[in-house]
Every structure is written in C-alpha cells, then in structure tokens.
Symmetry: C2
Subunit: 284 residues, 2 copies
C-alpha cells in the first residue's frame, strides 16, 4: 500500500492509473497535479483522484510515489518544478513512450533526493484525455520497466508491484532495448498507418467513396492514426534514431515482397506470407 | 426470393452467404458445390447450405443464381467446369478481391448463356474456412459491385438486392476503380503488415520477449498478417500493378514523414499527423 500517490497529469494514462489505484486500494491517498482549473472539478467528478490541485508543493509534498504522466515534451520542465517539494527517498516514475531520452535526464534531476524508475505501460488507445480514462485500461497489457545500474532496488520493486497490481504484465529491459523494440512494435506501425491514411487523400476520385470502401482490415490497421498528433510528434522525435533504423529494416522486408511480386514469384511470396502468419499467430 | 441459389465453395465467405441466405429466407434452396467429401456432412451440420454436393451438374443445374466463392486462382477452371450445366439466363457472380482480372474472363466464359456480375464483399477476417463462417459476417460491411457495359441490368439488380439483403452497404464502380481503391485500402495494408511482423524476427534478442511487448496497437495493425497465405498470394499477384502503384504513393507519403523526422521538424510532422488523424476520424 502506498501512503500518498501523486499523479502528475490526469489524462488517459494518469487518469486510468488513478481510477484503478483508488478502486483497488493501492494507495491511501491519490492526489493529482493538474494544469487547468477545470480539471480539478473534473477529476473529482470522474473519480480519477481523491483530490486534484494546481499547486505542485501540495500535490507532491509528502508523497511516497510520484508518477509523471505528462507528454514527453514537458517532462523535464515538470521534473525541475516538482523536485524541491519531493520528500527524501521518494520514488518518482513516469509513463513515457521513449526511455533513453527520459531515464538519463530524470536520474540526474532527481538524484540523490528521490529514486527514479522508468516505466512504459503499453496501453492506451487512439483516444486521449481524462474522459477516456478507464480503470481496466492496464488489465492484461504489457508494461516495460527500464532500470539502470543507478536504479534503487527497493524503488524498482515498489514500482513493479504497482504495475502488477494495476493488471499489467511487467517485463524489465534496458532503456536502449526498450527504445529499439518499441520503435518496431509501436512507433513504426504508427507512422506507416499515418502514411496509409494520407495516401487515400492523394487518390483520384471522391475521398468519401474511397473511405466507404474500407473494411475492418483497413480500419484496424489504421486506428492508431487517429491518435493525438502532438503527443506522437514528441514520441517520434524522442525516438527518432531507432525509428529510422526500424524503418530501414521494414523497407528491406518490403523490398523482398516487392521483388517477389514483380517477378510473379508465387512460391517466394507464399514463403514470406507464411512466415508472417506463423509469427503473428503466436500473439493470439 | 431466389429459386435455387448455388454457392461454389463453402469457405468463410461462401459459407457465410449460405448461413445468412438460409436464415433470412433469401432463397428457396441453397446448394453448395464442394471439393472434398468431408465438406458435404460439415455443410449440413453447420447449416451453411440445405445440401452440398461434389457434382457440378447437380449443384449448378436449375440454379437461378450461382456465386463462385473460391480463391481467385481457381476461378477460371471452375467457371469452365460449371458452364455446360448452367440454365439459360442464369446469373453468375463471384466474391473475388481483385476484379479486372476476373470480370473480363468471366464475361467471356459465360456469354451468352449466363449473365456475369462482379462482386467484392469487403468482409472476412484473418480466419478462413467453413468453421469461421458467420451469418452476420456482412452486416454493415462495404460490398463493391463492378458492372461493365456488358452487364445485364436485371442481373445487376438481382445481385445488388442479394447483397443489400445480406446486410452490406453496396456501391458500384468500374473494375479498374475497384482494383485501384482496394489496392490502397486492403492489399497494400496487408503487405505492410506482413513486413511489419517479419521485421520482428530480424531483431536481435528473444523474439518471444519482443512479441510480449506488443500492445493492442501492434496487434490491430498486424491482425491481417495472420490471414491464409495462399489466398493472399493469389490476390496480390492478381492485382500486382495497382499494388505496386499504391506502394509508390505510400513510399512517397512516408518519405515526407522521414524527412520531417530527420530534420526534427516538429511543425511539419504535426501537420502530417493531423491530416491523417482528421481523415481517419471520418471513418469512425
């Protein structure tokens, strides 16, 4: 049980942590730090926190654990703002989709007063904001923790326990491994989906008619393209090198498909499709 | 009401047509033409046809409408096999995912004895076979009819009525427009998903660990890669030129993403993501 849990930012992820933590009694008090006055009443109404405030000292002071659940682009500023108010030995953690660019700077900012643990819950949807928060958002979803040599073992254990209790399936890896894997399973698919959707606008003919032909296949493979743009700009720029690398691998995989297609090489094409099918079925 | 409806091939699509046609009383008799002896009993058990047979004459003879629901690769052979047994003025239609390569040859094969109407229901899933058939498979899904100057107007109306009654939202376009649009909304996304999945096998590290990090985003955008390989080889080769063209458009869209990414041009990247988001939201 966490004595006082502070969540900085009560959007889809922060709000869902708050809902689940309260429902599951994972903390004695859940306090939200918000940016806008309207969010204070909304947080109460939606039950995502016991109370919310715009005052960093009030939110953070005396907290045993602080979860920074803001977009990547503002994390450093927030970290610097809250640092003076952290209790000695406090655990600070995050939910950012890119880890190398977060973990190093955060460890520097919080050391030695507080213990930082990098976390990336692979949850969420194309929706965003407190309104989209759900107490079951993390049930059965992957959650990656990215400890380093500097990570406090007790802090790591506490954060791990929290995410397990939130329903996630936790795994540990280095920030580098995280960024490489997530580029391939999240960031690259996102950019491919964006390009797929934008292709439709470039086709001759009425775009409405084209959209009306889309079946569940297209809808499923491009759903992520409806995600908030600003958040994804941050993510893509933060993990740019790994995304460009993943893109290269994808281009080379695609090149063998195209080669088989151009040659009309049915056997080769079938090999490629079977390989993908087998691998994809392992995820079911 | 169709007097006798013959469905050639009782897989996911053919079987689902049979289930729905029987349930909705769209035909006095639904007869399936199957390739394997086991399918005769299975068809009865699953209720996808009133009866099934391996005898083309028995299945097709006296039918008012024949739906060829086999993979693209065997359609011409099937068409030639059933032609001698068709009643004068019979309506023949299909469910193929590519239309230019189907409609011309089929019109030639069946003219003047029977009237051919090209159809592509944009339904289905990564599953296949009679076991996956569902009577509600077509509810709310797009269905494209591809009449030509040679298409009999009454046959077109009958086929259109059938698909409306099956629950589809029917639209009409030329085989060329169909192939171009479907390359962009179905075939290209398929190949991108295949390449995405195959990328994972090329990454360093345990592929199981990588797979375990995949969230719903990756799962949704690659679900189609679990589809039957053989069927998709047929589809891709049949619509090869349009797929290669769609791929070029996609590469050029992706190139502007990559350019913005490499330059760290957040504003440009945001523009691109917002454009995709707006378009994708129109599909919701």
């Amino acid at each position: 049980m966490i004595n006082k849990l502070c969540i900085v930012g009560l959007g889809l992820i922060g709000g869902s942590v708050g809902l689940a933590a309260r429902k599951k009694h994972l903390a004695r008090a859940v306090v939200g730090l918000v940016r806008r006055r309207e969010s204070i009443a909304e947080a109460r109404r939606r039950g995502v926190a016991d109370r919310a405030t715009m005052d960093a000292e009030e939110a953070v002071g005396g907290s045993e654990m602080v979860i920074i659940a803001t977009p990547l682009g503002v994390m450093e500023r927030i970290a610097t703002t809250i640092r003076p108010f952290l209790s000695e030995g406090c655990i600070v953690t995050d939910v950012g989709s890119s880890k190398r660019c977060v973990v190093g700077p955060m460890e520097k900012i919080f050391h030695p007063r507080a213990h930082f643990v990098g976390v990336h819950p692979i949850a969420g949807s194309e929706q965003s904001g407190m309104r989209a928060a759900r107490e079951d958002l993390f049930e059965g979803t992957p959650c990656i923790l990215t400890p380093t040599r500097k990570t406090d073992r007790n802090a790591l254990k506490r954060v791990r326990d929290l995410w397990k209790n939130l329903g996630s399936s936790v795994s540990l890896m280095s920030p580098d491994d995280h960024d490489r894997i997530v580029a391939a399973i999240s960031h690259l698919p996102h950019l491919l989906a964006v390009a797929l959707v934008n292709c439709l606008a470039r086709m001759p003919g009425d775009v409405r008619k084209i959209l009306s032909c889309a079946g569940t296949g297209f809808k499923d493979s491009t759903r992520i393209a409806a995600s908030p743009a600003g958040m994804w700009v941050d993510i893509c720029l933060a993990n740019r090198d790994e995304i460009l690398r993943a893109l290269k691998t994808h281009q080379s995989e695609l090149a063998s498909v195209v080669k088989a297609l151009k040659r009309g090489d049915a056997a080769r094409l079938k090999d490629i499709l079977i390989r993908a099918r087998k691998l994809r079925k392992r995820m079911m």
